[in-house]
Structure formats: structure tokens, C-alpha cells
């Protein structure tokens, strides 16, 4: 290995993060945008390429690891967060990322997901949510809308879907955000914020499956709808949306309502100011469920960020603490501990 400690760090580019493997997603798939935004964002997070690890499970999204020129591990269905947990605990120095889908993370991997959030393991989890099983060719997923007609729900799905933001908040994730494949700049910002966060960073990315669920997010993200239906959250800023930001969200007790800012009755001063660090879980949940009311827009950006010690730090601290108290482990002493006796 060349010793280049003293050399200035080489500025990486998006190209440095491409593994050179042929990308095999369907033409027009939203995953291409995610790959591009990740490759554009990573050079700016100031982590050497060799310290970045991508872990994925199974599904279209999980092919992601093969396309990143970092350490990568394409694992088994649902287990990406559990495997990533082991990678991170064993070497906390690594920046560990999970690429996963709504089937992989919310269905078969649901248990690992909630416990990763609960423990605040320092992982960055990107959920490619297309509300469908793509790799098995079109069955409804745990985020599919009720009533969705698919191959396994020919008369419409009778399942209620998960709200991934709400699930992550409920499980205690310390960073919860949302972006969309159609919003490249916004996605880059969110990815960089997730990278900076110490703890479980959960990012839901609305991602269009061009084959089996095409246009599912158009009512929100399509050009003609985005102004009215996408609420772009900014920390410390009022929650405004609509053409020329003419509308705002007002919190009427626990009930969020849309108000017109130019109707003479309400002003910008009535609008809910977004606070990422809000200690109230209640307000974060209100935000995560905003679109339950069809008259309200869907939130994008950082819903909530909480700074608290991570699990992996806790493990390291405990080892250091016990070692300081008891001294570094001595194998000979350990073997000969307990009640011993001599035979001569």
C-alpha cells in the first residue's frame, strides 16, 4: 500500500463511484435516477470510497450494490439491515448504507427494520418505494394502495398499506426523510443530510416502476401536480406550497389544515414553521400522515432528526469502560478463573 497520508485527499467524482458493471434495470426505471444522485452525492460527504459499504437485500432495488464502486454485499431477502448492523458494529469506522425496496424492507425485512431504528444503529437506509413487487413481476406490496389490482390481487388488494415515514418514526428512527426519483437536486440534498447524520437515517424515495406500477406517484410528483401536492419542508421555514407558495399548512390543535395566504383571512404568520428537531413526536406523526387528508400535500424533506448516541457507539463505550475498570482481558487468568484445584 502506498503511504499517502500526507498527500492532499483526492477529490472524487461521480464516475469514481461507478463499478463499470452494465446497469440492468428496465429502461425508464426510477432506480437510474437514484443511482445517479447517489453517485453525485457521495463525493461530497468526505468519506474515502474504501470506507463506504453498500448492503442490499433482494429485489430490483437491491441490484444497486453491484453498480457502486465501493465495498458491497448483495445479501438475502429482507436481511440487509441485519447484515449491515453486523458490518457496522464490527467496524464502526465504516459508512454503511442499505439499498432496499418496499418488499425487502417493509415486508420480509420488517422486523429487522424496526429493531434497527429502535437501536439507532448508524446506518443510512434508502427505501426505493415503488409500491409493487417488481422482480417477481407485479404483485402488490405492503405499501401498495388498498384496492390495487395486481397479479395476486385481480379483484383489488384488500390490504391496508404501511406509511413508511410513520413506521420509521414509530420505531424510533433518529432521522426520517422523504424524496422522490423525479426530484434529483432534492434527493442529493437529502442523501447528503442522511450521510451527515449519526444514527439510523431512513430515507423513503418515491420511485416509479415503469413496468408494473407506472405513474403511481404522478398525482404527487408529476410536473402539473407537484406545486399543489408536494410540500417541500425546510427547517425553520413556514410550510408553504402551491403555485407561488400561495398556500400554507396551519396546525389547528392536532389538525393540519391548508390555508390560503392571499385571501385576506390568513397570513404567513399563521403557517406551521417546520422544525426538524421538534421534540414532539406528535407533530412529526402529523406531518408523516399529512396526505391522509386528500386536500393536503405530501411532505418531502427531513421530517425529523434527533441527535442521540448510536448503538455502535454504545458498544464501543461499554467495552472501553469495562476494560478501563477491569483491565484488558487476560486469557490465562480467564481460563484459570472460578473455583480451581490442584492435582499433584
Amino acid at each position: 500500500m502506498a503511504n499517502n497520508i500526507d498527500a492532499a485527499p483526492v477529490k472524487l467524482t461521480a464516475k469514481d463511484f461507478s463499478s463499470g458493471q452494465d446497469v440492468r434495470w428496465c429502461p425508464g426505471c426510477g432506480d437510474y435516477s437514484i443511482l445517479a444522485q447517489v453517485q453525485r452525492s457521495l463525493p461530497e460527504i468526505n468519506v474515502p470510497k474504501e470506507k463506504i459499504v453498500w448492503i442490499s437485500g433482494i429485489g430490483c432495488s437491491s441490484r444497486f450494490t453491484y453498480y457502486m464502486n465501493t465495498y458491497g454485499f448483495h445479501t438475502i431477502h429482507g436481511r440487509a439491515t441485519a447484515i449491515a448492523t453486523g458490518v457496522k458494529i464490527a467496524n464502526p469506522d465504516l459508512s454503511v448504507w442499505v439499498a432496499t425496496g418496499d418488499g425487502d424492507l417493509m415486508s420480509i425485512g420488517g422486523n429487522h427494520f424496526i429493531h434497527t431504528c429502535r437501536k439507532n444503529i448508524d446506518l443510512k437506509i434508502l427505501l426505493f418505494n415503488n409500491e409493487i413487487y417488481g422482480l417477481t413481476k407485479g404483485q402488490y406490496s405492503p405499501t401498495s394502495a388498498k384496492g390495487l389490482v395486481t397479479k395476486t390481487s385481480p379483484y383489488g388488494s384488500v390490504d391496508y398499506p404501511f406509511n413508511p415515514l410513520s413506521l420509521a418514526l414509530g420505531a424510533g428512527a433518529s432521522f426520517v426523510a422523504r424524496t422522490a426519483d423525479a426530484e434529483p437536486k432534492h434527493m442529493q440534498e437529502v442523501i447528503k443530510r442522511a450521510a451527515e447524520h449519526k444514527g439510523t437515517a431512513f430515507v423513503e424515495i418515491l420511485q416509479n416502476c415503469v413496468i408494473f406500477n407506472d405513474g403511481v406517484f404522478d398525482p404527487i410528483t408529476a410536473k402539473e401536480n407537484r406545486a399543489e401536492k408536494m410540500l417541500m419542508l425546510k427547517h425553520g421555514q413556514p410550510m408553504v406550497f402551491g403555485k407561488d407558495n400561495s398556500k400554507g399548512i396551519k396546525l389547528d390543535g392536532f389538525k393540519p389544515v391548508a390555508i390560503e395566504l392571499n385571501d385576506g383571512k390568513n397570513s404567513i404568520n399563521d403557517v406551521w414553521i417546520h422544525d426538524e428537531k421538534d421534540t414532539s413526536h406528535a407533530r412529526a406523526f402529523i406531518l408523516a400522515h399529512l396526505e391522509d387528508d386528500p386536500t393536503l400535500p405530501a411532505p418531502f424533506g427531513i421530517i425529523r432528526q434527533e441527535l442521540k448516541p448510536t448503538y455502535d457507539e454504545g458498544v464501543e463505550r461499554q467495552i472501553a469502560h469495562v476494560t478501563e475498570k477491569k483491565g484488558k482481558g487476560n486469557l490465562e487468568k480467564l481460563l484459570f478463573s472460578g473455583n480451581t484445584w490442584e492435582v499433584n
Binding site: M1, S19, Q21, P48, K49, E50, K51, V53, I55, I58, T65, Y66, M68, N69, T70, Y71, G72, F73, H74, T75, I76, R79, A82, I83, A84, T85, G86, V87, K88, I89, A90, N91, D93, L94, N111, H112, H115, V315, Q318, I319, V322, T323, K325, K326, G327, K328, G329, L331, E332, L334, L335, F336, S337, G338, N339, T340, W341, E342, V343, N344
Partner: protein, 618 residues
């Protein structure tokens, strides 16, 4: 407190005692204290904890009976004893459930206070057996009002009746210490460390223990007391150890000997939980224990840790292995080192969680989708778990493969004296990480067919691995038919190569002859005792024991071929027998008893005698 007795002390060669009572009576603690003290006196010993799966089953019931058997001797022994010489029965249910196992002229010490109408009824006795002249005919019965004696000794203690009653096991323990001439020191010092913050409880238990001891001395009912001289064991320092603790120590030792930090991903499961508990306390050895949300996260977190460059382990029992199966396949495909410890218990399904069995062998060797070979090792005794845990780690990192180590509930919880090895007697485990980017390929091969191990964080060696089939050398995803055939065979050959690296199968007794008894895993002690006894009676019988079950030692076929008959006793329906037949086309005789208990050596001895028939094998 030695000179207080005038009663004659009789010298015995060996004794088997079974303590039995309600699952809340503290019988496991009583038995393990007696065993630890006995070990410290220099006896060889074997123990068998046998307890129900319920933590506190309804008091007085037959299914709530918890037992602890200890066999100790002035010579080398290998089992917890077939038939107890002494039964300590704390209630009628304990008497009823254990009486049939006792020697015909055995000693029974009963707590008479518990033989009331309610407990007799719960135990299914129509008549009080202590008052029935025929019920305990032939046994030496010592009735002791243990509850009353304990309560009167503790009436000044200020403790509640409930707390006082909880001390009665220490009265019984004190009495047994007197009867078998054991000192109280070890138990007193254990009490002092256990209850250092609860002086009232500490004091009460000390009083109960001593009261029991002095009761033996002053009462008229015992004519004699007994002693068992220390065994002539090999020179060295010894400790009494269970298989689960030995496994934990073996894993820490392997971590130090390999220079790899130990990572354990595990989910609590009977009877394997102890290993997680022991390792969680070794923080100053840099051990990281991750108590996962489920069995699958236990193994997958370990796979992640292996990818990061740690010595990765997961511990479980049979149902947990079932859940981990898919992940073991991922370990095979990505060729990462990983140790899976299965402390086998009675199955199928939840089965008999607290009982022992050997029925996971086929699961260990074959139980995965696709061709997914892994080495399978099996520990023979509690202390052997230490060495086999180290072996499992050595093979895993050398061959870059998951390795399964089979132990079982009996050797996991059972104890034996262990001659402790010095750190410097245990060889290092060499490990090499790839660091040079020049010519690096993630699926290149060394002379053993192992691929290189790379720690993420190493510059220039960034690469991707995964569960999809891959091309040799490059590791690129590859669906080509010829490549798959090649890789399936290569992975198999790599595991077969482990044969070059393990000791030959040893024969105890004559190297050829009429009958070989072949065993594997935790049945070693029972087979050894059976073969020794049969040999002493003049039967021509030898023993071989497999600790490397897959692949087997190179000379296995040759060894088997030297005997006219091969008998395989197993606590399953003949799983090793199936493998031996299919691997070597050698027919074997089976002996299968699946009771959730270890073999009695007499059962195996009877088989030997029956097979060798009237000829006596001579």
C-alpha cells in the same frame, strides 16, 4: 468442623446422588453447589441437570419436578451415572417420579413435611408411601422434616415464611455435605458473593446450610457417613466446567489466538443461552455480543461482522438453526468464515426445550437449499466443547466457510472436571487479510481452495459479493451452466479438503475385531463406560468416536472395515448410521433411544452383550 462426629465413616469408590424437588425448590442450585464442592475435593464427576421447560410449574405436580444428578468417584468416570444410589426427594412428586431410577437398595432422604394430603394427591399417591410398609420396601429411607427444621432454625431471622421456606434446599445441601463428608467453605463463599447486598438472605442461607450439616451429626437416624477419595487424575490445575461455558471460553481463546475480534450475534434460546450470557460478560476481551431481534438477525449480523473482518459466531439450538438455514447458504455462497453453534435439544418443533437429543445431524450436514456443504464438528464431552469451539473457528477462517459445531443439552449444561490448559499450550490460528490491490481477485483461490478475506476499509480492494452464483476468480455474477457446475463442485471440494487438516479417527481398544461401537457427539461418555465395562467382562469390543462428522477423517472407512460388526448408538433414529451407509456402503447396527435423556451406559453395554451373544466375543 471435622471432629464433631463419632460415627463411622465408610469409604466408597463412587456415588450417584439425585436431588429432586419442585422447579421452584432450587434443586439445580443445590446440585451444582454439591458438584462444585465435590470437584474441589478432587473427585472426578459428571452431572445431569434435568429440569422442566416451565420456570415455576405448579407446585407439587409431577411435571414440575426438577432434578439434578451428580456422579462422583475416586477414579476416572465418564457419565452422570445410570442409576442413583441416593435420592433426595423434597416432595411426594419428586419421590414418585424418580423412585424407579433408584438402585434397589438405594438411600432415600425425604422431606416429610411436604407429604401432606394435597401434595400426595398431586403426586397421584392414594396412600402416603412413607406410611405404607410395602411402597419403599428394600430402600433405606431417612425421613427428615426439612421444612420444620429450617423454619425453626430461622424463626429469629425476621424473614417472611416464604423466604424462610426458600432456604430449605440449603438445609438439604448441608445435610448431604455432612453425609458425604464435604466442607461447607465453597458454598459459604458462593453465598457471600451472591448475597453480599442482601445480608438477611445471606445469613438465613448460611444458618440453613449449617443447621442441615449439624443435624446430620446430632440426629440418631444416620448410622454412618461416607467419603469418596480424590480421583487420581492427571497432574494439573482443574476446574469444574459445563459445555456451554467451555464453548464460550473456546470462542474467546480462538479470538485471541487468531487476533480477530469476536462478534456474537445471537437470540436467547434454551439450552444455548448460557453461551451468549458468558460472552456478554467478557467485554474487556473486546467481545461484541449483539442480542438480535430474532434468530435470523443473529446469524445475518454475524455474516455482516465476518464481512467486516471479525471472528463471527452465532449460537442457537435446533429450531434456531432451522431459521438460520437460508443465511448459512449465503455464508456458503459468499465464502465467509462463520461459526454456528447448535446446542441440540429434543425436537421436532419446540419439542423438549430443556432435554437433550442428537437429532440435528442430518440438518447440520444436509439441511440447506442447493448444494451447500459445510464442515460439521461435534464435541464429545463438556470440556471438549472448549477445544472443538477453537477447531470450528480455525477451520472457518482457514477455509473461508461457515462451520457448524454440534453440542447438546446434556454436555452443554452438564459439567465435568477440566484440566485447564495454559494459554501457551494452545496454538495460534493464522489469519491473513488481502491488502494488495495488485492482482487482487475476490474469488481467487489458495492451495486449500479458500478465497481471500478482505476488510472493507482497505483502499483499492473495493469489490462486491452476494448470494447470486458467481464466476470463479472474478466473483462476477454468472449464470453460465458450465460455470455453475464448476462452482458447485469447487465448493464441495473445498470442504472435502478439510479432511487433510484433521486428526485420524482413533480406536480405543483393539484395532480390529468383532465389534466396533461408533459414536459421535455427547454420547462419548456413555459409550466409553459401556465399552470399558464390557471389555472388563472379557468381551472383544472397541470404540471410535467421531468429532469431525463432515467431512469425516480420511481413515474412517478403513477403521470401520477392520471390524466384523459396527454398532452406532445415537439419540435419534439412526442419522449417523444413514450417513455411514451411504458414504461407505458398510452396513451398521443401530441402537436408538430418543427419550430426551443421555444414554445409560448399561443400555449400550446390554447391546454389546447381545450382539456378541453367547460367544462372549472370545
Amino acid at each position: 468442623m471435622a471432629q464433631e462426629t463419632e460415627k463411622e465413616t465408610l469409604d466408597l469408590k463412587e456415588v450417584t446422588i439425585r436431588f429432586a424437588g419442585d422447579s421452584g425448590d432450587g434443586m439445580q442450585l443445590t446440585g451444582s453447589q454439591f458438584s462444585d464442592t465435590t470437584a474441589l475435593m478432587g473427585n472426578d464427576l459428571g452431572t445431569l441437570p434435568d429440569y422442566p421447560a416451565e420456570i415455576r410449574a405448579p407446585a407439587g405436580t409431577l411435571y414440575g419436578v426438577s432434578g439434578f444428578q451428580v456422579h462422583f468417584s475416586s477414579s476416572d468416570i465418564h457419565t452422570p451415572g445410570d442409576t442413583p444410589d441416593v435420592l433426595v426427594a423434597m416432595n411426594p412428586a419428586a419421590l414418585k417420579k424418580n423412585l424407579a431410577d433408584l438402585k434397589r437398595d438405594g438411600i432415600i432422604i425425604v422431606n416429610t413435611d411436604s407429604f401432606d394430603a394435597k401434595n400426595l394427591k398431586l403426586a397421584g399417591y392414594d396412600k402416603n408411601p412413607l406410611e405404607d410398609e410395602t411402597a419403599l420396601d428394600g430402600y433405606k429411607v431417612y425421613p427428615v422434616p426439612i421444612t420444620t427444621l429450617t423454619s425453626s432454625a430461622l424463626k429469629e431471622s425476621g424473614l417472611s415464611i416464604k423466604d424462610i421456606n426458600r432456604c430449605k434446599n440449603f438445609f438439604a445441601l448441608g445435610l448431604m455435605y455432612w453425609l458425604y463428608n464435604r466442607p461447607l467453605d465453597a458454598t459459604l463463599s458462593w453465598l457471600n458473593s451472591k448475597f453480599k447486598n442482601k445480608p438477611a438472605i445471606l445469613n438465613a442461607n448460611e444458618i440453613a446450610l449449617k443447621t442441615g450439616y449439624y443435624f446430620g451429626d446430632t440426629t440418631e437416624i444416620f448410622e454412618n457417613r461416607y467419603t469418596v477419595e480424590p480421583a487420581k487424575l492427571k497432574k494439573g490445575t482443574y476446574r469444574n466446567i459445563s459445555g456451554n461455558e467451555a464453548t464460550a471460553l473456546g470462542l474467546v481463546t480462538a479470538s485471541i489466538k487468531s487476533g480477530l475480534p469476536l462478534f456474537l450475534g445471537s437470540y436467547p434460546i434454551t439450552p444455548a443461552t448460557d453461551i451468549l450470557q458468558f460472552l456478554a460478560s467478557y467485554k474487556n476481551f473486546g467481545v461484541k455480543t449483539f442480542q438480535a431481534e430474532d434468530e435470523i438477525a443473529g446469524i445475518t449480523s454475524a455474516i455482516g461482522a465476518a464481512f467486516s473482518g471479525a471472528l463471527a459466531v452465532t449460537t442457537t439450538s435446533g429450531p434456531g438453526v432451522a431459521l438460520k438455514t437460508e443465511a448459512i447458504g449465503l455464508g456458503v455462497m459468499t465464502e465467509l468464515p462463520l461459526v454456528i453453534v447448535n446446542v441440540q435439544r429434543g425436537g421436532p418443533s419446540t419439542g423438549l426445550p430443556t432435554k437433550t437429543e442428537q437429532a440435528d445431524l442430518l440438518q447440520a450436514v444436509y439441511g440447506r437449499n442447493g448444494e451447500a456443504p459445510i464442515p460439521v464438528l461435534a464435541a464429545a464431552t463438556p470440556s471438549d466443547c472448549f477445544y472443538m469451539a477453537i477447531e470450528a473457528c480455525r477451520i472457518a477462517v482457514k477455509y473461508m466457510t461457515p462451520v457448524m459445531l454440534l453440542t447438546d443439552g446434556y454436555i452443554g449444561n452438564g459439567t465435568e472436571p477440566w484440566r485447564i490448559p495454559h494459554e501457551n499450550e494452545i496454538p495460534d490460528i493464522p489469519v491473513k487479510f488481502a491488502t494488495e490491490s495488485e492482482g487482487f481477485a475476490p474469488y481467487s483461490r489458495d492451495e486449500n481452495l479458500a478465497r481471500p478475506w478482505v476488510k472493507p476499509g482497505t483502499p483499492g480492494l473495493e469489490h462486491r459479493i452476494g448470494g447470486l452464483e458467481k464466476a470463479n476468480i472474478t466473483g462476477n455474477v454468472n449464470y453460465d451452466p458450465a460455470n455453475h457446475d464448476f462452482m458447485v463442485k469447487l465448493r464441495e471440494q473445498k470442504i472435502q479438503n478439510v479432511k487433510n487438516d484433521i486428526p485420524d479417527l482413533a480406536i480405543q481398544g483393539d484395532a480390529e475385531g468383532e465389534l466396533l461401537v461408533l459414536g459421535w457427539g455427547g454420547t462419548y461418555g456413555a459409550i466409553k463406560e459401556a465399552v470399558d465395562k464390557a471389555t472388563a467382562k472379557g468381551f472383544k469390543v472397541s470404540q471410535a468416536h467421531l468429532k469431525y462428522v463432515h467431512p469425516m477423517p480420511k481413515n474412517t472407512k478403513e477403521v470401520l472395515g477392520k471390524f466384523k460388526k459396527v454398532l452406532i448408538p445415537e439419540i435419534n433414529l439412526g442419522q449417523l448410521a444413514k450417513i455411514i451407509r451411504s458414504e461407505f456402503l458398510i452396513d451398521v447396527l443401530q441402537f436408538n433411544l430418543v427419550r430426551g435423556l443421555p444414554f445409560r451406559s448399561s443400555d449400550i453395554e446390554n447391546q454389546i452383550v447381545e450382539i456378541l451373544g453367547g460367544k462372549n466375543g472370545k
